[in-house]
């Protein structure tokens, strides 16, 4: 029993970590890794993720790096594979843009209908187009993003796999993001949800966005009922690395507490001040 609980926890943690990778690695890698988690090949999922991050030169935070090492270790893979990753305190990633100007929900309800009976506790399904490429080996854009919210009785990896599979069978290309209760959505998912439209199922499911993205959806889709929403284009803010753990409190205020970017800005400021001082000295002496 305890082994099963441990294994289930690991699947969910891998799933959650993949949510943080959305938009940072290519969509096929995300879908493949989710499938591997769902079919209990956790070591392969972790290795696929690390391989894509390493080959794509995708930066990870020190927290993410530690977390990945532990995931590799727990899946009985080789933690040293993570040693090749770019670890950065801060970085700038190009922002993602989402749009529902063209309806991304077309055909989705029909495609998912055969699978819905097998999926537990699906609260909502939303669709949106992502206009920007993801990862170092992106596929063609626009890319359909399907956001599924499940309740506490649902299984995130299984839902992601089955939904992606049902869409693929219907010939719909999509990357599927399944949000489960208690897991904070990333900026990527909030921005995607804010521009997304709900899929309305015959049994009435989907009329309301799920709890995780309801707040994000509200400002963008407030006027009118869901099926009369105006098209929305949302630009996500500069993608900052998501936090794995709550940030450690900073003690002291010395320069050693600053990030790389802050240090760089401080150095530029010092240089500019020195140049100004030099100029004013030479003017006064001239």
């Amino acid at each position: 029993m305890s082994d099963r609980v441990l294994a289930d926890g690991l699947s969910d943690r891998l799933h959650d970590f993949l949510l943080r990778m959305a938009g940072r690695i290519d969509d096929d890698a995300v879908n493949s890794a989710r499938e591997l988690i769902a079919v209990a090949e956790l070591d392969r999922a972790a290795e696929l993720l690390v391989g894509c991050l390493a080959a794509g030169g995708v930066p990870v935070t020190p927290d993410e790096h530690r977390y990945l090492r532990s995931l590799l270790d727990e899946t009985r893979s080789d933690p040293s594979l993570a040693d090749r990753l770019k670890v950065r305190d801060t970085w700038y990633a190009p922002p993602h843009r989402f749009s529902s100007e063209r309806d991304a929900c077309v055909g989705v309800e029909e495609a998912l209908r055969p699978a819905m009976g097998f999926l537990r506790d699906v609260r909502s399904v939303q669709c949106v187009w992502r206009l920007t490429p993801a990862g170092a080996t992106p596929g063609v854009v626009p890319q359909r993003v399907v956001i599924v919210e499940i309740g506490s009785e649902g299984f995130a990896p299984a839902t992601a796999y089955r939904v992606a599979q049902a869409l693929a069978v219907a010939g719909l290309r999509a990357v599927v993001e399944v949000l489960r209760p208690g897991v904070e959505p990333t900026d990527y998912h909030l921005m995607a949800a804010a521009a997304a439209k709900p899929v309305i199922f015959a049994d009435g499911r989907g009329r309301q966005p799920g709890p995780a993205t309801a707040d994000a959806a509200r400002p963008a889709v407030a006027p009118g009922p869901p099926d009369h929403e105006s098209p929305t284009v949302i630009v996500s803010p500069a993608a900052m690395p998501p936090m794995i753990d709550p940030p450690a409190e900073r003690h002291g205020s010395g320069e050693d507490q600053l990030s790389d970017v802050e240090r760089d800005l401080l150095r530029q400021l010092h240089e500019e001040l020195a140049q100004r001082e030099e100029r004013s000295n030479s003017e006064s002496s001239g």
């Binding site: 391989g51 390493a54 596929g139």
Partner: protein, 198 residues
Amino acid sequence: MQDDAELNAHDLLLRLAGRLPDDQLWRLRDWLASGALPVLRRVLPRALLRDRIGLTAEEHDLLRAIGADPGLTSSVLGVLTVPPHRYTFTPELPGQETSGDPVGVVLGATLHGRIGVGDVRCSWRKAHTEAPRRIVLVGATVDRHRLTGELQRMLRALGEHEPCVEVLPREFELTAYHLAALDMSELLCLGAAELVNG
């Protein structure tokens, strides 16, 4: 066999065309092109083991030469000869003669006259249960694994999810798969290098 692990890995992945699933093959080639050989070293033998794909003695040597775990490598099945592939090839898709091939045009424009590149050809692979798939065949003298990665990324951005790019060295002993594809291929362009593969 070369001393360079990356060259050996490229040659082994060439030999695995049509044997390892396309989705894994393009990904492993991308990792090789991008310097992620340590991950490839771990993942490739496991992929062969899982799918029960056998290797010839020479291919076993290549797998060991890229630094794969000898324990895992030893478990990979051995075969005397490469099993026959299940594909047929055609130089053009039906309807292409009227619609043209925009992706082929981009490939030709990119590689035309490029140093180190010989002939660039395209064939279409067909199998009973699969949609036709473009096979790009390029003769090249240098940086073959990086050229593979570059072309794969370009093809993906143009909508081909699992690109099949075969960048062949002059000295490469063509497999039955490559010979069949070259036999039914169409020339897209010529680079600056003089190579004859077909």
